[in-house]
């Protein structure tokens, strides 16, 4: 599904005249429908891997070969911005702790929109969006208010809801349970379980990977730059 070959990324900070290497040749492979966990110290480059796949970051070197439904095998490092825009809408989802939303878009509209982007009808979008909000325990009283005012945990759950309703082919998760309480974490686990059952391929960063026990198929260790199969 996705194969990363010798990925290199460094950040050049012009005003400090400095180059900061973040990834020095990362290779990994994620078979279709499987779940890869990434573990490593803070600053070791975990998020940089995910952001390079999502192309928020531009790697200097290496390949990210993705099996796309629309484009066939495509190297995400070389893909045009327009191709990436398409893939983000239809095939690749990304969940981070941050939420970037229109100021006058309600929580419900936000989730609906990610479905409308796929070409789903308005009615179906509303139904599915409501189900997702309910699943992630976002109180009904919040559905018609603006997410800018939400707490960190609520924003995070809303973010996950937006990504999950689309049932993307590949989902990237950057610490999606970081600030959640136990029961919210369970909801996230449950959603991941369901996605996986439906064939979604996942790459996730979790500081408490034990929590994903039984779901995670492989682990990538940043320190060893190695991928290991879990049995």
């Amino acid at each position: 599904m996705i194969t990363v070959e010798n990925l290199r990324k460094s950040f050049t900070i012009h005003h400090l005249n400095k180059a900061l290497p973040a990834l020095q040749g990362v290779s990994l492979h994620v078979p279709e429908g499987s779940f890869l966990g990434i573990v490593g110290k803070s600053g070791s480059g975990k998020s940089t891997i995910l952001k390079s796949i999502y192309r928020t970051y531009e790697p200097q070197d290496g390949k990210i070969l993705f099996q796309s439904e629309a484009f066939g095998t495509i190297d995400l490092v070389q893909a045009t911005a327009r191709e990436i825009v398409y893939l983000r809408k239809h095939e690749i989802g990304y969940v981070s702790q941050f939420l970037n939303v229109m100021p006058r878009t309600t929580a419900l509209e936000l989730v609906e929109q990610s479905l409308l982007d796929l070409g789903v009808s308005k009615e179906e979008a509303t139904t599915k969006a409501q189900q997702a909000l309910r699943h992630f325990d976002i109180d009904e009283s919040l559905w018609n208010s603006y997410p800018n005012m939400f707490s960190g945990g609520e924003k995070l759950r809303l973010n996950i809801a937006c990504a999950v309703v689309k049932e993307p082919r590949l989902l990237l998760l950057d610490e999606p349970t970081a600030s959640l309480d136990h029961s919210s974490k369970l909801k996230v686990r449950e959603a991941i379980e369901k996605l996986k059952a439906n064939g979604t391929t996942l790459i996730g960063i979790f500081h408490d990977l034990e929590f994903m026990e039984g779901l995670c198929d492989n682990v990538f260790h940043m320190a060893k730059m190695q991928q290991k199969e879990l049995v």
Partner: protein, 278 residues
């Protein structure tokens, strides 16, 4: 799956002044956007980009970088010095729009383009009623049915949330946010596939800004219009644009996915622009 752009701009340049020996020629490197000898301003230099159907393209850059000049050039308010512009909806993108007669350019402007100016005084007649302002554009586009025009104007005003009982009032009496909304209604009146928006939210208070941004986004979604949005406000660009162009001294110095330009800026100037706002 090769996608055809709706608008393609190749090497567009606009200079104010004739130039001199010092500043003309292939290899001249100007430090700023003007010639220190003859004072010719090179407001846009070799601008090339593509706009695709249904997308919002952002343009950012400091004051004087050439953003408004570019927008006015695209709307034929300014005559460019050189360059090519191809519109898919005009002669199937085979004719350079900048080389057409004034009459043809008026036709393009009235049927394919819509413009919302940085300064509402440029886009609206402040002494006509809001309805007449919108009707004016429809007449220009060849509409002759008074009843239909009236109906369409009211629909549009309603769409941009101008209370209908104020439709006969001149925009002079309106707040800045309302004036921008009337401009948007006017720009939409001919159903243009391409809409140009120059700093539409600048100078409005935050809550009014939010309304206008929301309006722009909903129009893009509902009507699948392609838009070029100019703003010096990175938050506006982040919210609206899929792809973004960064301009400096009349040139494009960086372009890419909006989140990439903002989170992993490559050019020293873009880094300065982004980090100064963090």
């Amino acid at each position: 799956m090769k996608e055809q752009p709706i608008l393609q701009i190749q090497k567009l340049s606009k200079q104010y002044g004739k130039g001199c020996i010092h500043c003309q020629g292939e290899h001249v490197q100007l430090e700023k956007n003007f010639c220190p000898v003859c004072k010719t301003v090179y407001a846009c230099r070799d601008i090339s980009f593509e706009l695709y159907r249904g997308e919002i393209l952002g343009i950012v850059g400091e004051s004087g970088s050439g953003k408004s000049t570019l927008m006015k050039s695209l709307y034929f308010d300014e005559q460019i010095t050189s360059g090519i512009g191809l519109l898919e909806d005009y002669e199937n993108g085979t004719a350079n729009i900048f080389e057409q007669s004034r009459q043809q350019q008026r036709l393009i402007r009235n049927t394919i383009l819509g413009m919302v100016y940085q300064n509402p005084m440029l886009g609206l007649n402040m002494d006509f009623s809001s309805m007449s302002n919108i009707a004016e554009k429809q007449i220009a586009a060849g509409n002759r049915h008074v009843r239909n025009m009236e109906k369409r104007s009211l629909e549009l005003l309603d769409h941009v949330n101008i209370p209908l009982f104020r439709s006969k009032e001149a925009p002079r009496n309106f707040s800045g946010g309302m004036q921008q909304r009337v401009q948007i209604a006017k720009a939409l009146s001919n159903n243009p596939p391409v809409l140009l928006l120059d700093e539409v939210t600048t100078g409005l208070d935050l809550s009014v800004q939010a309304d206008v941004l929301d309006l722009i986004k909903s129009i893009q979604r509902e009507l699948n219009i392609s838009m070029i949005v100019v703003s010096h406000d990175l938050a506006v660009i982040r919210m609206l644009a899929d792809r973004t162009i960064v301009m400096l001294n009349g040139q494009i110095i960086e372009h890419g996915l909006t989140d990439q330009v903002l989170e992993d800026p490559q050019h020293a100037y873009t880094q300065q622009l982004v980090y100064s706002l963090l």
